[in-house]
């Protein structure tokens, strides 16, 4: 479908959100030790498992999010497995690689070449600690997006993110990061979103107020126990979009039996509907 090549990431994502009536981000976090009954506990088994999961959940997914950490955990064949998984995702569904990277000049260009040009991921997660120039190589193409880690779902997220900083205002660091992403979203061709964990609905509300139109990736609604209803109510845009609610383990491992794909399909379908229930409609 060559027409998508000219779409911006924002338009391509919104087309998919509308077509599937879905804000569900299906995370792909495979571990050999958790392969269900009937799947070989091997890298080849992981590939087969992920391909079947994608087939089972593709009607309900707005976007897929493979997480690099789990593929690195597979060892030397990790990128080969990631490649096969990426190839199995239907062309009309955007794919976000969760890799939380950033680095200086030529190194960042290496990552951009790999994740965008070679693997053709539509978006990646990035870390802003190294500053704007460490992200710039990822921001050059309107067909791509980055999601900047802003307020993460884990208990230790306050260590740095909640520190009070003195800039033009006195504010928590994650507010400063959020505001920087607004500037970057306006300055660069690529879409710049943020990552805010569903374990922090009040902070999500603040970030949405700072960034009325940017996409927000929301991890933590599944196994991590984040508040789905509160998050969807405060995290969507005024038109009820722009929030990608990510669940991984609660879908992937919905059953440890041979019915894992059907169980994943049901879990994804029910979660898509549960999200929509709380979603304001513009």
């Amino acid at each position: 479908m060559p027409s998508t090549a000219t779409l911006t990431f924002t338009d391509r994502l919104q087309q998919r959100i509308d077509a599937a009536d879905s804000l569900l981000c299906v995370g792909i976090d495979p571990t050999i030790a958790r392969m269900p009954e009937g799947v070989a506990p091997s890298v080849d088994g992981v590939i087969e498992f992920c391909v079947n999961l994608i087939e089972a959940t593709k009607d309900d997914a707005a976007i897929y999010k493979p997480n690099l950490g789990f593929f690195v955990g597979l060892g030397r064949r990790g990128l080969e497995a990631l490649w096969e998984v990426r190839q199995a995702i239907p062309q009309e569904i955007p794919v976000l690689l969760d890799c939380k990277i950033a680095d200086i000049d030529s190194t960042a260009k290496g990552y951009a070449t790999g994740w965008f040009d070679e693997f053709d991921f539509d978006a990646i997660t990035v870390n802003a600690y190294m500053g704007e120039d460490s992200l710039a190589p990822f921001l050059q193409d309107a067909a791509r997006a980055v999601f900047v880690v802003c307020k993460t779902s884990n208990p230790g997220s306050g260590d740095l993110q909640d520190i009070t900083v003195q800039t033009d205002l006195t504010q928590p660091l994650y507010h400063h990061v959020a505001k920087r992403t607004k500037t970057w979203n306006e300055t660069y061709p690529a879409t710049v979103g943020v990552v805010v964990g569903a374990t922090w609905p009040e902070q999500l509300r603040e970030v949405r107020a700072l960034l009325p139109d940017q996409p927000i990736l929301l991890p933590g609604i599944g196994a991590q126990g984040g508040d789905l209803a509160a998050s969807v109510a405060v995290g969507t845009t005024a038109t009820g979009t722009g929030l990608l609610c990510s669940a991984s383990r609660s879908i992937m491992y919905a059953s440890s039996g041979t019915d894992y794909a059907d169980a994943a399909r049901t879990a994804a379908h029910e979660l898509r509907l549960a999200i929509n229930e709380h979603r304001p409609r513009g």
Copy 2:
């Protein structure tokens, strides 16, 4: 050599520093487009090139530092190439993977499994923005080390790292990060060092004052033009150790001809001696 299995990272590194009389960290940042005359511009060519570079520089290297970004840039065979490169490094020389990662619980465990258990890297670089619990899975083994990104060499490093924060003190964020690493170094079995760019000698002096004994990885002395003499003078410990001076491109691409390995050997040798010239001897 089973004896090394029981050494802490700190002891293993110091043994190598002493044996080679070297504080030189040889970075491995391969790009297909920069392969020299006589080397195929392919993934296989990159592997051959890196193996020859390692052989040429092994007498002068205190530690090797492959950078994940360049291997990702190779595409789906990137981890296979990284594996081959890692296997080519002599057992007595520690290896630090520059990957600047951190992530929550099970994801961080995936990275730890991959980089430590599967690839057997001795150390990795990490990013503290997500807080202590996002680093804890990397800190459980005294034979391993992490180097926390603290004050990076790039121009945009001030975007977040230099912001004034209010904690117990009013200080720049990178001071707060440095102090956190001191606590982590005392709390966890693994060695915790920091990354400070050679483009900031005054900030390096401050970090060394905060962290008298922890290892510091110093990028930026080669192609980036950092100040070697000033950095070595202020960045080493009281006994003239604990600073790993990293150069990549200035060694790897010392010649674009068929003599690239000899040129790399000479560049590494001269750089080792230049570092030692400025090194206080305890």
